[in-house]
Amino acid sequence: MLHFCQWLEKNSWIIALDSNVPLSLFFEIMHYSGFFLVVGTTVVMDLRVLGLAGVKESPSAIAEQLVPWMWTGLAMATLSGFFMFAADAADFYLAYTFRVKILIVVLAAILGAVVQRRTSRSSEALSVSAGAKVVAFISLILWIGAILASVEVPAISGVG
């Protein structure tokens, strides 16, 4: 994996993209916007399942409006994040805080999909099962953990 990361950061396309200042700025803006979109919409959906937001609407109604933006945000953050990662791939790969961040984001995205499935199955019912609430609570904690892990990458490892 380290060899792949070293090859990636020496790739002429990646070097060209990284040395283009407006494009680097564009990737950074997309990464932050995508991250805010995925975290904001998922957190509101989790809060609805927990009965703490938009209680007059059914969880499936909230999910119907927010889920498309949750996945759009995740796609924006992942794609732009790859280009930000690629320029310093080996340093990121060796930074344990970065690995923790990726692990938390993957787990949070999986739980987001689980919450989405459970809410879409609940039809127009206003209440949800205790199991769905537990999953939503863990999802909420994981996304807050993902934010904390994201800011710890440069703070502890000095990369990014």
């Binding site: 700025l25 109604a61 409006q65 498309p68 703070a155």
Partner: protein
């Protein structure tokens, strides 16, 4: 005017909370995470409402329903973002004050974004009463969306203007 703000900035930087944040390895990332958590709630819910007003995405539910459902967490997000942002600013206020990207972000785009958002959130009740939104709603949704992208652009540009 700048010297007046610099006097306040120097005082802020000498407060106990600013010294605690700047003097600790752990405090700064935690405060930054608080700021980002608030921003995620605020920007995430704002963008989803703007896109709904623009008529993008699924149209079975109305923009009015989305606006009501996200209202309290939307504003709580801004409160958290401002609290975290103020603490981050306090820890290095004299560096932020002369930074043009910070000045444009906080002096122009953030107040403008909040005003446009209040208008959109209030008008969503009538503009978004039916699944199809009118042209003015689409236009205002786009305006707010562009303002928040401008805020993020200014925010990520702050380190590029850092002269210290």
């Amino acid at each position: 005017m700048l010297s007046f703000f610099m006097v306040i900035a120097k005082w802020l930087q000498s407060t106990w909370w600013a010294l605690d944040i700047s003097g600790s390895t752990w405090a700064y990332p935690f405060v930054q995470a608080t700021h980002f958590t608030g921003l995620s709630l605020w920007i995430g819910t704002n963008l989803s409402l703007d896109l709904r007003l623009m008529g993008v995405g699924r149209k079975h539910r109305t923009a009015a329903e989305l606006s009501v459902a996200t209202f309290w967490w939307n504003w709580l997000g801004l409160l958290i973002a401002i609290t975290g942002g103020f603490m981050l600013f306090s820890s290095a206020a004299t560096k932020y004050i002369p930074n043009p990207a910070f000045e444009i972000k906080l002096g122009i785009f953030v107040p403008l974004g909040i005003i446009v958002h209040i208008v959109n959130q209030q008008m969503a009740k009538s503009w978004g009463a039916t699944p199809d939104t009118p042209a003015i709603a689409k236009f205002m949704g786009l305006v707010e969306l562009l303002i928040w992208f401008a805020v993020i652009t200014c925010a990520v540009s702050i380190p590029n203007f850092d002269t210290h």
